[in-house]
């Protein structure tokens, strides 16, 4: 049975409730994306890291905000709320015009999933990477696809499309106590 996934917009989604979450903001410096990520994850429970998967996936979101949202304008901020207690939860907001090609991307993704489902690998290869108007060599065109898979508790865009809320749950949970990283219940 073919049940396609897609990106959802839901401004009232509980993933955007930032109550009790920690907050940081950074200038849109493309060269510092992975440094920002490392800073946020500095006190993340070891079980959440999964090698470097969490770092990689959070970096993708920050990159999208800095590059496609803020167009690497250093005067524009990338704002990040995070909670690393029991699960990895983030809200990332940029100051750009939002993901205006979201519907086009969902159409692309539907065709891509259909090709894979039908084992039509020639078509799938043609659709393997999405290239939008602002894409270049540093855009693999596949970060959102992996994101929908990785963020198993949700990957939702806000109404203005310049903000995402994401959650990943871990089967082993957190080995840290609730107060250890300073977050409170959301």
């Amino acid at each position: 049975m073919f049940i396609p996934r897609k990106i959802i917009i839901d401004d009232r989604n509980e993933l955007f409730d930032a109550k009790g979450m920690k907050y940081v903001e950074f200038p849109s410096d493309f060269s510092q994306i992975r440094v920002y990520t490392a800073q946020i994850l500095e006190k993340a429970p070891e079980t959440f890291l999964e090698g470097n998967l969490l770092h990689q996936q959070l970096s993708e979101i920050i990159k999208n905000g800095i590059k496609h949202g803020n167009r690497s304008d250093p005067s524009k901020k990338i704002k990040i709320w995070f909670d690393l207690r029991k699960r990895a939860r983030f809200i990332v907001e940029d100051e750009g015009e939002g993901f205006v090609h979201l519907e086009e991307w969902n159409e692309f993704f539907f065709k891509r999933q259909k090709a894979l489902h039908e084992a039509d690998f020639d078509t799938f290869l043609q659709l393997a990477n999405y290239q939008g108007p602002t894409s270049d060599n540093t855009d693999g065109g596949n970060s959102l696809i992996a994101a929908l898979e990785y963020w198993n508790g949700g990957f939702i865009f806000g109404g203005k499309r310049n903000k995402v809320g994401v959650v990943r749950w871990f089967s082993g949970g957190s080995s840290r106590s609730e107060n250890e990283n300073g977050s409170s219940n959301v």
């Binding site: 998967l53 799938f124 393997a128």
Partner: protein, 115 residues
């Protein structure tokens, strides 16, 4: 990221990659890959056994390489894929397009007389 290439046969090449393939290194990687393709090397083995980080930019290079090799009637084998790079390729479904092998020797044997 560190990268080096070694030719074999008439049309083969091994690309030995190590370290982190990320948004800061993929432009350089694509330049190298393009150079190899321009030399008529269309049967490639990508040795990633020492790659410990791969992001969507790196996956994008793999996709573009697959697309190019399809046009040229070439083949791509990926040797030693493991850890988080393997998970990233799985999450983006690209692993379904790849021919995997344990190491370069096995890859060369799989290519057989194609080169």
């Amino acid at each position: 990221m560190k990268a080096s290439a070694k030719k074999f046969g008439e049309t083969g090449a091994v690309l030995l990659l190590s370290g982190e393939i990320d948004l800061y290194s993929t432009s350089e990687l694509w330049k190298m890959v393009s150079g190899i393709l321009e030399l008529g090397r269309k049967h490639l083995i990508l040795d990633v056994s020492d790659v410990n980080y791969l992001d969507s930019s790196g996956v994008g290079v793999v996709i573009r390489l697959l697309q190019e090799l399809k046009k040229q009637g070439g083949k791509l084998l990926v040797a030693g894929l493991q850890g988080s790079p393997r998970q990233v390729l799985q999450m983006s479904n690209i692993i379904s397009l790849l021919q995997l092998c344990d190491n370069v020797e096995q890859g060369r044997a799989m290519l057989g007389e194609a080169i």
